[in-house]
Symmetry: C2
Subunit: 263 residues, 2 copies
C-alpha cells in the first residue's frame, strides 16, 4: 500500500461488499473507531509527517494492512479523523442554533449566538482525551497553511460558520457587516488559542491566574467577545496626508490613539 | 557533528578567538545572518523536524560544518532564529512603551497600550519575507506544546508581556485584575491568528471581505480589542443549583444568555 503524503483528498480505496448491517459490520465499525482513536492521538502528539501506519497499528493493536483496507492512504485517514470530530462539533452548533431560531418570542441575541459558538467547543474539549487531541490536531492544521488543509477546513466548517455570521448580522443591524465578519474571525482566533492548551495566562499574570477552569474561561471569553462584537463600527480613515519629518520620539509612536477611538 | 533533537537549550560550542572586530568578523557576522535567514525560511516552511542542516547549508550556500561551527546543534540554531526576531519585536515594544510612559501630561490609555502591542506585530510582518516567516514559525511553536518550546517563549516574551499587563491594570482601575490578564491572553490569540495568514475571513464572508490589508486589519482589531478590554468585570456565579430534568430542546441550550450579560 502506497502512502501518498502529497495527495490529500484521495477517497479510500475500500472494496465494499453489499449486505445488511449485522454483527460483522458492528465489529467493523468498532475496529474503524479504534483506528480513528489511535490516529487522532498520534497525529495530535507527533504531527502528521512523523506518524506512520505502523505507529497507529501498534497503538490500535491491529494489522497495518487493515488500516490501508479501511482508509486507503495516510492523508485519507487524517481526513477521516478530522472530519469525524469536526462533524460532531458542527452538528452540535447546528442543533443549538436551530433551538435558538425556533424560539418564537424573540430573535437570537449576540450573547446567545456567541455562547453557542464558544460553549460547544469547551463541551467537546471536556469530553475527554479525544476532544483534547482534536483541538491540538486542529491547531496544528492552522499552523500548516497548505491548500489541502484549507480545503478540509472549508469542507467541515464553512456552512455553519456562515450561519453564525448571518445570525450576527441580523442581531446587529447597526454595525457595518465588514466589522461583523472581521470580529467573528477574531473570535475564532480567541477560541483556537484558548482550546489549544498553549496560552500564557499563568506566565503573564506571574502565576496569579491560570486557564484550567473551563467554566471560568467561558464566562470571561463571553464578556470580552460579546462586548467586542457589539462595539460601534470601526472608523476607517484613508491616510492621504503627506508624512512630515518626525522627531525620534514621535517616530516611535505612529498613529497612537488616533483611529477607532472608543473611549 | 551530532544534531541532538531532544536537547533544546544547548549553548553553541563555538570556539571564539580573541581580537578586535575587523573585516573578518564583519564577514562572519554576515555569514551568521545568512545562515539564520535560510534557517528561518526553512523551519517556517518545512517545520523543525523535517528541516536538516544540509537543507539549510544548500539554501545559504555554505558548508554544513560551518553551521555546526557557528551554532552547535539544530536546537541551538532554532533558538537563535527565534530569539533574533523575537528580540527585535520586544525591543520595539519596549521603545514604544517607554515613549508612552515618558510622556508627562497623561498616563497611557488602553487604546494606546493595545495599539503598541498590535501595530508592532504588523510592522514586523510588513518588513518582508523574514517577518512573515517568523510569524509562521511562531504559530508552529504554539502548536507544539512541549516544555522546551514554552521555556523559549517565556525567555523571549515574559518580561515585556508582564509590562503590558501592568500598564493595562493601571489604565483600568475599575476592572478586576483577573479579567485584565485573561483579556490580554485573548488578544494574544487574536494577534497570533491574524499574523499567521491562515484566517478565514474570505471563506466565512463568502468572499465579501479579505484580511490582506494590514492597515484595515489593525484598525478593526483595535476597535474589537479595546472595547473588549474595557468591558465591565465578568460576573462569575458559582453553579450550585441541582440540575433539573430537561426537555430535549432545553438541553440543547445550556446557560444561554445567563451570565456575563452585557447588553
Amino acid at each position: 500500500m502506497e502512502h501518498d503524503d502529497n495527495e490529500f483528498l484521495v477517497p479510500p480505496r475500500v472494496t465494499r461488499r453489499p449486505g445488511r448491517p449485522g454483527t460483522e459490520s458492528l465489529a467493523k465499525e468498532e475496529t474503524r473507531d479504534t483506528i480513528l482513536d489511535s490516529a487522532e492521538q498520534l497525529f495530535s502528539q507527533l504531527g502528521y509527517t512523523t506518524t506512520s501506519f505502523r505507529d497507529i497499528a501498534v497503538d490500535a493493536n491491529v494489522n497495518p494492512g487493515l488500516i490501508s483496507y479501511y482508509f486507503g492512504s495516510k492523508r485519507a485517514l487524517y481526513e477521516a479523523v478530522y472530519k469525524r470530530r469536526g462533524k460532531n462539533l458542527t452538528d452540535r452548533w447546528s442543533e443549538m442554533l436551530d433551538a435558538l431560531e425556533e424560539r418564537s418570542d424573540q430573535p437570537p441575541t449576540v450573547a446567545e449566538i456567541l455562547r453557542v459558538y464558544l460553549s460547544a467547543q469547551f463541551e467537546m474539549k471536556q469530553k475527554g482525551p479525544g476532544g483534547v487531541a482534536f483541538f491540538r490536531l486542529q491547531t496544528r492544521l492552522h499552523s500548516e497553511p497548505q491548500k489541502e488543509a484549507f480545503m478540509l477546513r472549508r469542507d467541515v466548517y464553512d456552512s455553519v460558520g456562515r450561519r453564525f455570521v448571518s445570525l450576527l448580522e441580523r442581531a446587529l443591524p447597526g454595525v457595518e457587516t465588514a466589522d461583523i465578519s472581521w470580529r467573528f474571525i477574531f473570535i475564532i482566533g480567541v477560541g483556537l488559542y484558548m482550546t489549544s492548551d498553549v496560552d500564557r495566562l499563568n506566565d503573564l499574570s506571574s502565576g496569579r491566574f491560570d486557564s484550567n477552569h473551563l467554566d471560568e474561561a467561558l464566562e470571561r471569553m463571553m464578556t470580552f467577545c460579546t462586548v467586542g462584537m457589539m462595539a460601534p463600527s470601526t472608523e476607517l480613515k484613508v491616510r492621504k496626508a503627506p508624512r512630515k519629518q518626525k522627531t525620534a520620539k514621535a517616530a516611535a509612536l505612529p498613529n497612537l490613539g488616533s483611529r477607532a477611538r472608543v473611549k
